[in-house]
């Protein structure tokens, strides 16, 4: 397993492909960023085809662990025995990464309902379900070293992501390190949401991960729907410098000349890349 050569760094890539046949580009991205865990949403690429391409002429091979998730696909660069399925449900797939000699982590991949089907209020009302599933999974594996990654179809500032009964994901690392706060007598755990730092044109990289323009009064136009959230228990393993919204693949821009995602050639979502440096178990 070559990941140990990079000082226990695990590289993650999430991309909503929007059904586009982008296997060559996915492969180039994985090689360019030495991806260990690839998570795809809306992928119609047959698993075997993508595996063939990912592994062509590679020493370290990807595997596609057996799983029943319809909306989310996982490809991992370790033996599948280290990457176990915990739960699958309609918009959520929970996996446990149990590499030898390092802390186990829980990986929750989401592809939440689009605003085309649920308005913001109803999206918010759905979030306690996901929070409940995550808490149950954490209680099952016995730890909270959890990350949630995927297409939330909500921005980091929207109610479902921020409120205590939903993901409870906040923008301040120092605040979330306190782990939880009491809300009307009930303890609610935090997530840290580093994506706040990836919004707007003053952030490094593009202003968001998804661009949608509509002739209505309230339209953010740039959205940061693709996010990673981390429990405080994982923050020692994560640096904000290791999070990137990707805007090119080996120099080929994913944005058009006008600076918006080139959805004709690629997806309307930009890929999200991040690293975790998991410590050795004491």
């Amino acid at each position: 397993m070559n990941i140990w050569d990079r000082e226990d760094m695990i590289n993650f890539l999430f991309w909503n492909l929007r059904g586009k046949p982008l296997k060559e580009h996915v492969t180039t991205l994985c090689r360019e960023h030495e991806v260990d865990i690839l998570i795809l949403a809306e992928s119609n690429i047959p698993q075997a085809e993508l595996l063939d391409m990912l592994n062509k002429n590679e020493v370290s091979k990807f595997e596609a662990p057996h799983d029943l998730s319809k909306k989310l696909r996982f490809y991992v660069k370790f033996p599948a025995e280290y990457f176990k399925s915990v739960r699958d449900e309609r918009n959520i797939a929970i996996r446990k990464l149990e590499l030898p000699n390092v802390w186990d982590i829980l990986i929750v991949a989401v592809h939440l309902p689009s605003k085309l089907y649920l308005d913001s209020e109803n999206q918010t009302l759905m979030c306690p379900r996901y929070a409940d599933l995550i808490r149950k999974a954490e209680s099952k594996v016995g730890h909270c070293r959890t990350l949630v990654v995927g297409d939330f179809n909500m921005n980091p500032f929207e109610n479902g992501v921020v409120n205590s009964e939903g993901f409870h994901a906040l923008m301040d690392r120092r605040l979330t390190i306190k782990k939880s706060r009491k809300v009307w007598g009930v303890k609610r755990q935090f997530f840290y949401n580093p994506m706040w730092g990836k919004m707007s044109d003053s952030s490094e990289g593009p202003p968001g991960t998804y661009y949608y323009r509509k002739s209505v009064p309230l339209c953010y136009i740039w959205n940061t729907f693709d996010q990673v959230l981390l429990r405080p228990e994982l923050l020692d393993f994560f640096s904000n410098d290791h999070l990137k919204v990707i805007d090119n693949i080996s120099g080929t821009p994913l944005l058009s000349k006008t600076g918006i995602p080139d959805k004709k050639s690629f997806s309307d979502h930009l890929p999200l890349f991040f690293k975790l440096q998991i410590e050795k178990e004491a």
Binding site: K96, P128, K140, E165
Partner: protein
């Protein structure tokens, strides 16, 4: 002198009938698969202040570290129970059932569907594989 029972009508049964129906189907799955796959019915989160009761039917696989697969969710009020909503998580569909017969019909459609059969087959296949390879 006794003034009699002032409590009004008898309270509804302890377990609402739709939940009982799910539990029965869960136990059929266990019997069918000789307990390799367990059916689990659990109450799930609801928005605060909501009168709705939510119950999820999931398949749990003890041989795969209790991996669980969500099949469907029912949501209902206690009085009256119907109309009751069914969220078919396998086919991404929603149903509203007006009575028990309708609920049974919808459950049959979901549980006997090709998709659910494939899920069951794949889980049994994976259990067999893990037993053989010891992974």
């Amino acid at each position: 002198m006794s003034i009699g029972d002032l409590w009004g009508e008898s309270p509804p049964p302890e377990i609402p009938k739709p939940v009982e129906i799910l539990m029965e189907q869960a136990s059929f799955l266990e019997k069918k698969t000789e307990n390799q796959l367990m059916g689990n019915v659990l109450s799930t989160a609801r928005p605060r202040g909501s009168e709705l009761f939510n119950y999820l039917l999931e398949i749990v696989v003890p041989a795969l570290d209790d991996y669980s697969f969500g099949v469907l969710r029912i949501s209902f009020e206690l009085m009256p129970i119907y109309p009751l909503d069914v969220e078919d998580m396998v086919h991404d569909k929603e149903y509203t059932c007006n009575d028990e017969d309708h609920l049974i019909d919808v459950l049959k459609r979901i549980l006997s569907s090709d998709e659910v059969r494939k899920v069951i087959q794949r889980l049994l296949w994976q259990i067999g594989l893990e037993k053989r390879t010891g992974i």
